[in-house]
């Protein structure tokens, strides 16, 4: 609960608004509204203002502030890749020696066709893999060819890995951290 109200997420530094008067509840409601997406009307921020009890300026200030402090990673069109034809979505998982995982993770992050890359804990004996990367591709052959080039390019021939293609999406939507289902 505490982090939802942390001062970092209040537009304290904004010169245009009297920060102490921007209601924390209004900001929480704004986050709930934003998790559902922006209204597609000429003045979307005014609509959000009406729904949250903030002013239109306060809404825009809060969003700008959240973009600059990193709470909002990006603001824009969120694409459903599968609909567009990115139907070969592979999660590739690797069992990398602990002392190499960070360097390799950073290297993989720079590979253009890798769309996500992160480290997660192993769960032995069932799950020996600690590095995950995602390849969103248009067909399976191409993804497997990209994987081959990755293995060759980073000398991963002796690393145990698995490729988990996804064949069905049961749900795909934005995270709802503060709003209800």
């Amino acid at each position: 609960m505490s982090q939802l109200f942390s001062a970092d997420y209040l537009p304290m530094d904004s010169p245009d608004s009297d920060a102490t008067k921007v209601s924390a509840w209004g900001l929480l409601r704004l986050r709930q509204q934003l998790e559902q997406g922006l209204p597609l009307v000429p003045r979307p921020y005014r609509v959000l203002a009406e729904r949250t009890g903030l002013s239109e300026q306060e809404v825009m200030d809060a969003i700008t502030q959240w973009q600059s402090n990193g709470l909002i990673k990006r603001l824009g069109l969120v694409v459903k890749h599968r609909t567009l034809g990115y139907t070969a979505n592979a999660m590739v998982v690797w069992d990398i020696p602990d002392e190499q995982v960070q360097a390799l993770g950073k290297a993989m992050a720079d590979v253009p066709f890798i769309t996500l890359c992160y480290q997660r804990p192993r769960r032995l004996p069932d799950w020996p893999y600690n590095l995950f990367c995602m390849i969103h591709g248009t067909n399976r052959e191409r993804v497997l060819a990209q994987l081959d080039s990755l293995i060759a390019g980073h000398n991963l021939q002796h690393i145990q890995y698995a490729v988990l293609f996804s064949n069905k999406a049961y749900r795909q939507r934005g995270g709802r951290y503060v709003s209800h289902d």
Binding site: Y86, Y118, R171, R176, V178
Partner: protein, 154 residues
């Protein structure tokens, strides 16, 4: 799904920096040579066709609250049933079938870790299936706003 040039331009230009001003769609239209009304209509249509899940912010998950990737090994013939049960649990925002013994992979979110663990415990008890819980240790690249390769899609 085939999109026309204007729809593609909208996607190419605005996956990450939608204007924050009183009339954002008018501003986008000005850049792309469309009217405000056309921009709104196109975005609505793209949303209806499920090309877009929404227009709005993507929150940084480590700051926004708690989230965790989990997987269960469901019997093949019960996948749809188990997937539906997972979707009924609170805060599930991704849920995919994948080709592996652990064949259902989902992301659950909650306001904090305690609540998240509670929800996962409840789900695990209900499903009676082995569950992997895989919190992120470190993210090296977490951004799905990559440039769309229209050529590969055509």
């Amino acid at each position: 799904m085939r999109l026309d040039a204007a729809d593609r331009q909208l996607i190419d230009s605005y996956q990450r920096s939608l204007p924050v001003c009183e009339r954002p769609y008018e501003e986008m239209g000005r850049t792309l040579g469309l009217t405000e009304e056309e921009v709104i209509q196109r975005l609505s249509a793209l949303q209806d066709q499920k090309v877009l899940s929404r227009v709005g912010p993507v929150f940084e998950h480590s700051q926004a609250g708690a989230s965790l990737l989990a997987a269960v090994a469901a019997p093949e013939e019960q996948m749809d049933l188990v997937a539906a049960r997972i979707n009924r649990a609170p805060g599930v925002n991704h849920n995919y079938a994948r080709e592996h013994t652990y064949n259902l992979w989902f992301v659950m979110t909650a306001p904090d870790n305690e609540l998240l663990e509670e929800h996962l415990d409840e789900l695990e008890k209900e499903l009676k299936l082995p569950m992997l819980r895989l919190p992120m240790v470190e993210g090296y690249h977490i951004d799905l706003g990559f440039d769309i390769d229209w050529e590969a899609l055509s």
